[in-house]
């Protein structure tokens, strides 16, 4: 991998905080489009983004963003916009000023900066409240004003750390539409999230992270296929666990049926959840088992990691 002027390149990048691992031996390159960094809290997503934008320096390895490094800040930060997860603002700042003054530091004149500020506020849906102090904003509004600042100078690379956190469904949909529109312009958009479902619909590419390692990366379809083939776990709280477990085992798609330690439930692993739910309905209507609760046990992304990386948390 080299200094490709169209790619974001990580070359064997590691970051240690003293003896604590941030990320380890990360190597990949990203082209234009939306890339999602997905992983549980503490998996190294933010570290990777901070490394990418020069907020922290790698302990080893090198990072190039469109052939540039943060050591060339003037060229670099014209190309890069970063919406961090830090929910803090300079004291007393108003929404408008929060975007306007950084634009002035970019070298834009008063009128130019004002024009770009208004445009960014419009795009982020914050124009109405721009003259209010940021301290009075809701969490969602603070998220969006940071997004507005990140896109105001029309960067080629937009880095967004958990950008959908704290947004209501409407703002979430608007933000996703905005990311898609930006990506369609040929920009690199990198989004982090700890919920795969949240970003998989809009991502062209996904990087799955766990414990500082990249455990899977590629086109979203490939990763989704792996996820789809992964047996789903369903937890059933019921009166006659042994009976349910025995019935479940008769189905071909059930891989495992484990009676819970307290004896009042079964954890079923199945390749066809719908078929299992049909069986469950039949058993319940037959009065053989009294069901208290049914819940998917692995709807969260952690189960995917368990599948992809194994239980020890090491690299795949």
């Amino acid at each position: 991998m080299t200094r490709d002027a169209r790619q974001i390149v990580f070359e064997n990048v590691s970051k240690f905080y003293g003896e604590v691992l941030g990320v380890n031996k990360v190597s990949f390159s990203l082209g234009p489009g939306i890339t999602s960094l997905v992983g549980p809290n503490g998996s190294g997503k933010t570290t990777l983004m901070n490394l990418l934008t020069g907020l922290i320096r790698p302990s080893q390895g090198a990072i190039y963003v469109l052939g540039l490094t943060p050591h060339q800040p003037i060229e670099f930060f014209r190309q890069v916009g970063y919406c961090t997860q830090f929910d803090s603002f300079p004291p007393g700042t108003k929404g408008y000023d929060f975007i306007y003054w950084p634009l002035r530091l970019h070298g834009f004149g008063r009128d130019q900066a004002a024009k770009l500020t208004n445009e960014a506020l419009e795009r982020a849906g914050m124009a109405q409240v721009a003259r209010r102090k940021v301290a009075g904003y809701s969490k969602g509004m603070r998220q969006r004003i940071r997004l507005a600042q990140a896109i105001a100078h029309h960067p080629s690379v937009l880095v967004l750390d958990e950008p959908l956190n704290g947004l209501d469904p409407m703002a979430r949909a608007e933000s996703i539409a905005l990311f898609e529109a930006i990506a369609k312009q040929g920009m690199h958009v990198i989004i982090s999230s700890h919920i795969l479902e949240e970003v998989d619909r809009i991502s062209d590419r996904v990087v799955l992270m766990s414990s500082g390692y990249v455990v899977a990366e590629g086109q979203i379809r490939e990763v989704r296929r792996e996820v789809r083939d992964h047996p789903m776990q369903i937890l059933v709280r019921c009166s006659n666990a042994a009976r349910l477990a025995a019935a479940a085992f008769e189905l071909d798609h059930v891989v495992e049926a484990k009676i819970l330690n307290d004896g009042h439930g079964v954890l079923v692993r199945t390749r066809d959840a719908e078929q299992f739910y049909l069986l469950l309905n039949k058993i319940v209507s037959g009065g053989l088992v009294e069901v208290d609760a049914v819940a998917p046990a692995d709807d969260d992304v952690n189960s995917i990691y368990q599948y992809l990386i194994g239980s020890d948390g090491g690299p795949a």
């Binding site: 020069g54 800040p73 014209r78 004291p91 070298g107």
Partner: protein
């Protein structure tokens, strides 16, 4: 003009005229930082630090208004010299600069806002210079106003005799020297504390060490004294304090140097320390959780 055109134009301008870009960035940083540092309630204790002597002199003037003897001017001149040399240069300006300059970067770390400064197309050296200038403007404006207030209050109570001392005697020269030395003290201490804030997470303890060093530097060889801010300031003070005993260590001038060398020396020392800060800022990382 479309947004894309604006961006392209700004990029072209900054490429063609980088020094104008740096100048414009510094002026914006100074403006924002001065606003943030000067006009804030959090700084009230620094205002008190600066204006307490003026308040004391004012109180003295009010209670002693019927007991004015023009022969006291010389004595009050020594009192003023003591306030400036022993209080302002040793304590007031020292602690105010510690608060103002260490807060420039460390404060932003505490408030978790420094990353905004690191994510704009500004060279980190420019950031250091901009913040330093802002801190210097705040400190100089505050303490020069305070010292000017002390000076006016000291001599105004003497009426015609005071006016004559100021305008026909050595008064104007003295206040000019005090203002110059104040500015140099702010610049010198400011550079020191800015560098300390980049070197240490908690610059208070190193600050106390610096205070101790400034106090005992006169007993060291002259080459070592050159690493002390007060070494240069003492040579520029217009009035010698007749202090004897152990306290004389604060005022004694062991090897006199010319005012020019004193000014140039302090400016060079400050520039060297600022250069160190420019080097240190490149090592700085945004790790708020470690703060």
């Amino acid at each position: 003009m479309s947004a894309q055109d604006l961006v392209a134009r700004a990029q072209k301008w900054s490429k063609e005229q980088p020094w104008r870009l740096f100048g414009s960035q510094i002026s914006i940083l100074v403006r924002n930082e001065v606003r943030r540092n000067l006009f804030t309630r959090r700084r009230i204790w620094i205002y008190l630090l600066a204006f307490i002597p003026a308040l004391i002199i004012l109180t003295h003037d009010i209670f002693d208004r019927y007991n004015i003897d023009p022969a006291q001017i010389e004595q009050d001149t020594l009192v003023l010299a003591g306030i400036v040399q022993l209080y302002y240069f040793r304590l007031g300006i020292f602690f105010a600069c510690m608060a103002i300059f260490t807060w420039l970067f460390r404060g932003e770390m505490v408030e978790r806002t420094l990353h905004y400064q690191f994510l704009v197309p500004v060279r980190r050296e420019v950031l250091v210079v901009g913040k330093f200038l802002a801190g210097a403007i705040v400190a100089i404006a505050l303490f020069e106003t305070a010292i000017l207030a002390c000076f006016c209050l000291t001599y105004s109570r003497f009426g015609t005799a005071g006016k004559s001392y100021v305008f026909d005697g050595p008064g104007l020269g003295q206040v000019g020297s005090y203002l110059l030395v104040t500015a140099l003290a702010c610049v010198g201490y400011g550079a020191v504390f800015l560098a300390l804030s980049l070197l240490f997470k908690n610059p208070i303890i190193p600050g106390v060490v610096i205070m101790g060093w400034e106090a005992i530097a006169p007993i060291f060889p002259s080459w070592a004294q050159m690493l002390s801010v007060t070494f240069y300031l003492k040579h520029l003070c217009p009035v010698s304090l007749p202090i004897t005993g152990p306290l004389a260590i604060f005022t004694i001038v062991a090897e006199p140097v010319s005012p020019f060398i004193a000014i140039a020396g302090l400016v060079c020392l400050s520039i060297a320390i600022l250069a160190l800060s420019c080097f240190l800022i490149h090592r700085m990382e945004i790790t708020y959780t470690a703060e």
